[in-house]
Subunit: 263 residues, 2 copies
DNA sequence: TCCGAGTGGTTCAGTATATGAACCGATGGT
DNA sequence: ACCATCGGTTCATATACTGAACCACTCGGA
């Protein structure tokens, strides 16, 4: 593995649950020698990507990431556009709405909004990476990925997270055909046992999938009526988002969506 | 220089003015061999720090920086706290307010807010790095930096940006004594000829300077009354920000500020 | 139509650069 | 007093990085 990849992997160790970590801890988690880890962290620190805080000299993410994120938002304002839309989706459906983006072959949580309505709701803050085969967002993305990328994903082992998780690649492929014919993806209890969710894919200007928009509800609340409302709102939001953000929806999917909105 | 440093430097090539760049262009700007640059960008891409967009295969910042920025904000909510405060400052003073943070030995723009009031105002969007000797924010930070770091900054050449820029290290040191005795820094026309600004330093939980809060006005609008109002609002905002964010203001400075607020 | 000057991207020998075991001194618990 | 941590450093070893030269392609003249 390249040195740069190791350094960047170090940045991936941080999470909401673990906002700061010590040198030895980082080395252990990343599987690096302590000296190597120290040098890498040093280089990251020199550029402001991490900083050392407190008496324990723990490392945490630095201000450089904020600056870069602001630049990314200036170049590709997906997040800024999506946040109000997520709030609206959460409001209209009464369930948790979230946005994920394809990042280095993984599907990762980018933003989310909770409904005011219910006391119980699906929480998103602790979810980092969404598995392709076990989530509606993952299926939505996977269905519209180029075959090569799809094959790469399905070549990996597909862990069974719950007893309802589909772990056979061919069965997943069958689900993808379904997704493409419906224009949206659905998954019930395959990621978390009590969660039922619907998702639609998002595209960039070249028509490549970039992520997914989804709404997740507790299984026990997911009635037929709610399913329909979520699907409609989701498609409307995705059309708007793809439109505003210059996303090029594949013609057949666009046709499906238009049909769904009329019916 | 380490490989990682080179890769991170590559990320610094992006700016609002240059949101995307080609391979050759990046190599040229970073002073790297094209092959090396390609490999580094490849590693950054594999982790989602950059992505290739469009038919021209230009590179731009990727979604990974958004995720990391969200984590940084969760750990150190400086920006979230500061933004509303900046808006208020801009509103109360009628001038541009901005926040900068110390990052790898440089002082960089993090956030800003414009006043609704005036048609002419100081623009911040294109300013990236603030020079220590030529800006009020820089002086405010420099005054409270540990001597070693301060010496390092003053050992570098101090470019004269305007005819009012102080480029003699000793003269700058004299200004810093002034800053420390006043509790805020001021600079008129030393960064941009038509800009007059005031700034106060911000601190972390260990009492180390982390950045500055500043208000900048066109020189021709900066009357004595406005100066006084800006200074008061700035100090009030800094006290609040340091307080909320757990920043430990050095005792003598805290005393100065309290005195200024009473008088 | 051909040419030259740009692209983005790849190869591979040579060497600069990263690596990791062993080592500090400090701290904290038993 | 001991042991097990911690963050950080050293230096001989060898691995992973470098860069000149090379593709194939596109574009705008001449």
């Amino acid at each position: 593995m390249g040195t740069v990849a190791k350094a960047l992997e170090l940045l991936d160790l941080f999470s909401r649950a673990r906002p700061a970590l010590g040198l030895s801890e980082a080395a252990r988690l990343a599987g690096l020698n302590k000296a190597t880890c120290h040098r890498l962290l040093g280089e990251l620190q020199a550029r402001g990507f991490v900083e050392q805080a407190g008496a324990a000299r723990e490392y945490r993410l630095g201000p450089a990431v904020l600056r870069l994120a602001a630049l990314r938002e200036a170049a590709v304002p997906l997040r800024a556009m999506a946040q109000p839309m997520l709030e609206r989706l959460a409001d209209e459906t009464g369930e948790t709405a979230h946005l994920s983006a394809l990042e280095a072959g993984r599907l990762r949580m980018l933003a989310w909004a909770y409904p005011a309505e219910h006391v119980t709701r699906v929480m998103m803050a602790d979810t980092d990476t969404l598995l392709f085969h076990a989530t509606s967002s993952g299926l939505a993305v996977l269905a519209y990925l180029p075959e090569a990328a799809r094959a790469a994903v399905l070549a990996e082992p597909l862990p069974r997270l719950t007893e309802r998780t589909e772990s056979d690649p061919d069965a997943v492929r069958a689900r993808l055909v379904e997704v493409r014919s419906q224009g949206h993806a659905e998954s019930a209890g395959s990621f978390e046992a009590e969660v039922h969710s619907l998702a639609v894919p998002l595209f960039d200007t070249e028509g490549a999938v970039t992520g997914a928009l989804a709404v997740a509800a507790p299984v026990m609340r997911m009635t037929g009526a709610l399913r329909g409302r979520i699907r409609d709102r989701l498609i409307a939001a995705a059309m708007e988002l793809n439109d505003q953000g210059g996303g090029a929806v594949p013609p057949d999917l666009a046709a499906l969506w238009r049909g769904a909105m009329k019916g």
